[in-house]
């Protein structure tokens, strides 16, 4: 499902370019759940970015959903991305679209019919408690509402791999618990889930295997 072997990432060119991720080797089986932990600047967001194909490794081997990312032609990557749901730390909603249209985007890009899109988006917005705000634009929403819209967009297409960067950072405890329930339910239905967080209380309440990063290196996988 997700496999990294000796993966390194540097932004510069040449041997002297410092690596922001070094020698990462781990794997997550299909349907696995992992917390991604570590202090700020440890490389959690960079690793997630690599996993949602926003970056390619500088070295090593990365395999996602059975596809070797290194050797895959660029033209094949969009299809792979459609099977990956992402909750960005800064949400990255499109301000000129309504909440409904933001959540519908992944389905429309995947070529779903208008009726299927309407049914699934309406259901998902009800689940995250945004039905009354579906016609509003993201700038008019609170931080928590934007985060819920971002989560709805990430999961609406029932991705095979779900990646989330601080997905509950702007939510109160009740909302965080409810949305963690959504992630766990998706995981139970077969979605592989990787959640990056600083929130140790959340990790304690939902115990699962954790990947721990420090200064770009994997220091724990248990």
């Amino acid at each position: 499902m997700v496999r990294l072997e000796e993966v390194g990432l540097s932004y510069g060119v040449g041997r002297r370019a410092p690596e922001v991720l070094s020698d990462l080797t781990f794997s997550i089986p299909e349907g696995g759940f992992r917390w991604l932990l570590g202090p700020s600047g440890a490389g959690k967001s960079t690793l997630l970015r690599m996993l949602f194909l926003g970056l390619r490794p500088s070295r090593g081997r990365l395999s996602l959903l059975g596809t070797d990312v290194q050797s895959a032609p660029r033209e094949d990557l969009p299809r792979l991305r459609r099977h990956i749901g992402v909750v960005f730390q800064d949400f990255r909603l499109l301000d000129h679209l309504s909440v409904y249209d933001n959540v519908a985007l992944p389905l429309r890009l995947a070529g779903w019919s208008a009726m299927q899109v309407r049914d699934d988006v309406t259901e998902m917005l009800a689940w995250v408690g945004l039905s009354p705000k579906m016609d509003q634009r993201p700038p008019l929403l609170s931080g928590g509402e934007q985060q819920r819209a971002a989560i709805a967009r990430a999961v609406v297409a029932r991705p095979a791999l779900l990646l989330a960067d601080e997905p509950t950072g702007n939510l109160d405890d009740a909302q965080a618990t409810r949305l963690m329930g959504l992630f766990i339910e998706m995981n139970r239905l077969g979605t592989t889930v990787v959640l990056a967080t600083h929130n140790t209380r959340l990790v304690d309440r939902f115990p699962a295997r954790s990947l721990v990063l420090e200064q770009g290196c994997l220091v724990g996988d248990a």
Binding site: F52, L53, G54, L55, R56, V69, R74, E75, L77, P78, R79, R81, R82, I84, V86, R92, L94, H96, L105, P106, L109, A110, R153
Partner: protein, 283 residues
């Protein structure tokens, strides 16, 4: 969109200028090349019961090369000679030649020479004043004007292309975040480029239409002013305002129709190239 409209106005004026210069050059050439002034000395001298001028007129009316002819009256002759002979030409008692203004059916130097030979046989001493020299100069002037207008059109169109592309590119810069998000959600380069190209192409097309509509009254006004020098009689234009529309030559109408399409195509192409170039930076 306003910038596109402004560039289309400029391009339309450039195209109109080029077409007008070329048309005027052609008109001048035709007008000058087909006019001939026949001078018949001793016009009233008779032989065989007919005056010399009558023999020349009879021959002109049967000649196939001649489109129309007009014998200048004494008054017209007086007006023509006034700069040299003063106000009352008749009082001088001079025996003036008859002057006949001839318009040839089709300007052809060979045919003109044949006609002159025949006229001289009918009335020896008849001469014709052709306007070959100055019509050639006029033609050269017209062609030079048309060439200058052509260069101006090419320059204006080049600048218009560059500016429309620049405006389109600047507009897209504000959409960079959107483009990246669509890419990360699984849109192909073609999907993203097509969405933006359709939108930008539409905007530049609308800008082009606005520009063409703004240019139209200017061009109609210019065409009305130029009507006395062209094919549409000025009086007809003044009497029937709608006939202004017919004063614009077909190439200018075609140019006005083509410019918005060109602007739309430039916007579309710019978006395709810019968006695809940006997306190539991502995996």
């Amino acid at each position: 969109m306003l910038l596109v409209a402004a560039m289309v106005v400029l391009a339309a004026l450039g195209v109109a200028g080029g077409v007008a210069a070329w048309s005027l050059a052609s008109e001048w050439r035709q007008g000058a090349g087909s006019a001939l002034m026949i001078e018949v000395p001793r016009p009233d001298e008779r032989s065989g019961g007919e005056s010399r001028v009558d023999r020349v007129l009879a021959l002109l009316q049967t000649a196939s090369q001649v489109g129309s002819d007009h014998l200048l009256t004494q008054d017209e002759l007086g007006t023509l000679l006034r700069p040299w002979l003063g106000g009352d030409v008749g009082a001088l008692g001079l025996e003036l030649p008859a002057m006949i203004e001839v318009h040839l059916a089709a300007p052809d130097p060979g045919d003109t020479n044949v006609l002159l030979t025949r006229l001289n046989q009918a009335a020896p001493g008849t001469i014709a004043e052709a306007s070959d020299d100055w019509s050639a100069r006029l033609l050269a002037l017209g062609q030079s004007l048309a060439a200058c207008a052509g260069v101006a059109v090419v320059l204006v169109l080049s600048v218009a292309v560059a500016l429309v592309a620049l405006a389109a590119s600047a507009g897209l810069a504000a959409q960079r975040e959107t483009i990246e998000i669509l890419h990360l959600l699984g849109a192909t380069d073609g999907d993203v480029a097509h969405r933006f190209a359709r939108r930008l192409g539409g905007l530049t097309l609308v800008g082009g239409v606005v520009g063409a509509l703004l240019a139209l009254p200017l061009l109609l006004e210019l065409a009305t002013l130029a009507a006395p020098f062209g094919v549409a009689p000025a009086q007809q234009v003044a009497d029937q305002p709608l006939s202004m529309l017919t004063t614009l030559p077909p190439p200018i109408w075609a140019g006005l129709a083509a410019l918005p399409c060109a602007a739309g195509a430039i916007g579309w192409l710019t978006a395709q190239i810019t968006v695809r170039a940006w997306l190539r930076r991502f995996p």
